[in-house]
Symmetry: C2
Subunit: 504 residues, 2 copies
């Protein structure tokens, strides 16, 4: 079954990250051994983009840093998978688009180039058995011009964009209509503001593709915040930018795969990054913070927890978390997505004048992309199983799911899709250190009563991760920005300490 399940042993060998600690089969056994104690200034928990960016900035500012990572690899929700010949495809977050300035600068600084997502020719729209090619550079971007639904969905998208701009990015709960919008689901709004079956289907697919959740799962206020957040300070986000390939969040890809950013960051941090160190407990008092793993204790002045909010619940805190934070992280679930990729000798859809992008109801895959390497060889077709479909298909046998995905691909691009040379999938809900992607989202009522707790420090513990970012929330860009922000936050706290000791 080597083709159906990627093992989690990533690209990053022990030597690459300088992590000398071997994986142990049984954490319980390990806990019985004596634990080492190490001291540092700042301990970072989580070696995804947020944690590694924070560590880089702190090291640059000449602080002592240790990064603890639960997995046997770095990169968090980014993950490269080998497809032979030294090439990789991403089975986690992968794209970069306009206004994602900090991610772009980070990649550039590491010598990692980008290339455009393949977008030449027509996209495919398949609905109720009717397969329609459409121009990939149409006015709605990847949203197909369904004759019965296009006006409906275009009107809805425009209205969502307009409302989104009323949501303050640093405090969505202060929007003039925050209470009204956080009291309903996106589904409720959809039912009231669309009229056609096709329009509703297209809005559903947009929601599933952006949030890996259903419109019924999301607070309308959260969805609007998220749309607004998909831009930088000069160019506010729109739903079109979230869903677009050219000019949008799927515009470009990284040469060598997006995980390479984290791998290179980790190489620079060297011995400061420790893998296979799940954190069990964080305690703090006025002297410092103490972070306990099974075989290691780190004592520091400050801790940065760079994880999705829902996952921060797996750590025990002493003293107990303040109640707003404690209840927030009961209420900020992760989305549901299985990323599926099939490898073919060549991307033969290109010769048929197709981009490889499809939108349709050939479940379980409703959205596809050409995910071939930069040189177009081999051909890689990428499909997402998202939201309800992911929840339904995640527990089915792998072979059954693979067959269903290939049938979806065949419905969009023909029967040649049924015979890939390789099939790779990653169910992020199944991953015990992630438990869902793309990101944490807020159901109704959460932003209103718990919003401020998302990045408010708890004593010496600071929070990072893409979910804490007012800009490109939920994206790699948001993760990088959160890392930069938390590094500034911690540096200010450490400077405060220096001033206090100087005054004493």
């Amino acid at each position: 079954m080597a083709d159906t399940r990627l093992t989690r042993r990533g690209l990053l060998g022990g030597a690459a990250a300088g992590a000398a600690v071997a994986a142990l089969p049984d954490a319980a056994l390990a806990r019985r051994r004596r634990r080492r104690t190490r001291r540092t200034e700042v301990v970072v928990i989580g070696a995804g983009l947020a944690g590694l960016t924070a560590a880089r900035d702190l090291v640059r500012a000449r602080h002592d840093v240790l990064v603890l990572e639960a997995r046997d690899r770095v990169g968090g929700r980014t993950l490269n998978a080998p497809i032979g010949g030294g090439k990789v495809v991403e089975i986690g977050g992968q794209w970069i688009g306009p206004t994602q300035d900090r991610l772009s600068a980070l990649a550039r600084s590491l010598g990692i180039g980008t290339f455009k997502t393949y977008n030449t020719g027509s996209n495919i729209y398949l609905r109720r058995g009717v397969r329609t090619p459409y121009a990939s550079d149409g006015p709605l971007g990847p949203i197909p011009p369904d004759p019965t639904g296009v006006a409906d969905v275009a009107g809805a998208l425009a209205e969502l964009d307009r409302m989104a701009r009323e949501v303050p990015l640093d405090a969505p709960w202060k929007a003039p209509k925050a209470k009204e919008w956080d009291s309903q689901t996106l589904e409720t709004w959809k039912q009231a503001h669309t009229t056609t079956d096709a329009g509703r289907f297209l809005l559903d697919v947009s929601c599933q593709a952006v949030f890996a959740a259903e419109p019924r799962d999301l607070s309308l206020l959260f969805a609007l915040f998220y749309i607004h957040s998909a831009g930088n300070e000069r160019s506010p986000g729109t739903l079109e930018r979230l869903t677009n390939t050219p000019g949008g969040a799927q515009e470009s890809r990284f040469v060598g795969g997006s995980q390479l950013i984290s791998i290179k960051l980790a190489r620079k941090l060297g011995h400061r990054v420790l893998l296979d160190q799940p954190v069990r407990r964080i305690s703090q008092d006025r002297h410092g913070v103490r972070v306990e793993c099974d075989r290691l204790v780190v004592e520091a002045e400050r801790a940065i927890v760079a994880m999705a909010p829902a996952m921060t619940r797996h750590i025990h805190y002493h003293p107990a978390l303040p109640e707003q934070r404690a209840q927030l992280i009961q209420r900020y679930p992760n989305g549901s997505v299985i990323k599926c990729e099939a490898v073919y000798p060549e991307p033969f859809w290109r010769r048929e004048g197709l981009t490889g992008q499809a939108v349709g109801d050939a479940d379980p895959v409703r959205v596809t992309f050409d995910n071939s390497p930069p040189d177009g060889s081999p051909g890689v077709m990428l499909g997402f199983i998202e939201g309800e479909q992911a929840r339904k298909w995640g527990s089915r046998p792998a072979a059954e799911r693979k067959a269903a995905v290939l049938r979806s691909f065949a419905a969009y691009f023909g029967d040649r899709m049924l015979s890939p040379t390789r099939y790779i999938e990653k169910n992020w809900t199944e991953d015990r250190w992630t438990r869902g992607c793309y990101e944490g989202y807020a159901p109704p009522g959460v932003l209103l009563d718990y919003g401020p707790a998302i990045r408010r420090p708890v004593g010496r513990v600071h929070w990072a991760g893409s979910e804490t970012s007012p800009i490109w929330n939920g994206y790699m860009e948001g993760a990088v920005r959160s890392g930069e922000r938390v590094a500034r936050e911690v540096r200010a706290a450490l400077r405060g300490r220096s001033r206090r000791s100087a005054a004493a």
Copy 2:
């Protein structure tokens, strides 16, 4: 500050439960010591009503059982507080009403009597400064006959009751309109089906009082299921039964306080109940289950986790939980409530012809009860801070909160309420082993995609707790029923094993 915060050292001394393990100040220190290993047939995690009922039933069926409790007391979300003279008031769940048959039978079997909640005279309704007494036995029970809102709210309640009966208690996600109802919040439904400000206020208060959450937090489908569940097999639940005193869920109280049920159950179980044993890890394979605390390891054939779903996330599972369960417990938050009680020399409102029950907008307390002991001495006024109010007031200084609560009491019952002889409160969100009451609830979309995981066993691990009960979900009755159900489930599994070994 002995009057403002109840310490968690409960009524149950070490001798009472036979728990000989002393509390340790630092779990980290404790973990370094060598852990004892004990073997049993069934290990129960959580010594609330669900876990203790399950243990009792299994012991009766001659199984070996150990019960592990994280706290230094039994009773879970029930908790007695002394008020002097050997008397107590409850600062957790406390009432019993008609159709709560299993709780009633359990209390009777333990020799614990009940008495009627004080309900003689008039209730108080206070809205926008106008204070109106009204008959406590009116047609809407505790819901005040607000002249502008009563027809509105009565219509809405009747419609909710009618819809509730369409929700199958054992599978709410199979209701004919499950998708429509789980796609919206109770708030959305309220906005569409009420027309008056007063009617909406009364529906808000009902929701806050029943769920300790706001209408915007709840899935309409979940709210309907919960209403339907407030009855037994012969008499389906209604919102009126949930909110009523006579004939409803607040009808009667337990002599000696509701926690006495758990205390007496634990006494019977004796040395089988171990306090101060927070479970960190549950691992299982085909031979058995292994439950790890800081100083103790229990090996058993089956484990019962009798905790609110959200709290089961604090345990690490090996192998990792199946994905539907893993994502369910990211999405099933606990409500928010602070229970506040003020003690007076006598219940002087009784002499004024008042029941002590009030409903009104004198925030933070919107609902009150006379909670005096059976003999009416001393007088105890009980007020709830619920939902949004609890989230707002929980983090304020205790003295400020106490003053605000007493001002609420005074607005309902006069200035004598400002000078109690004692003040007791319990913020269940702050309690690290509870993190919210009264119960876990489902936001939109959760029942539809995750509902079946609420009580589906995971290998050798079985789930109990009131949230798993189709009957009186969220109440003590539901907890007892879940304990009885899980004991049957585990006994069947153990019988299966015996048959297999006999056949081998």
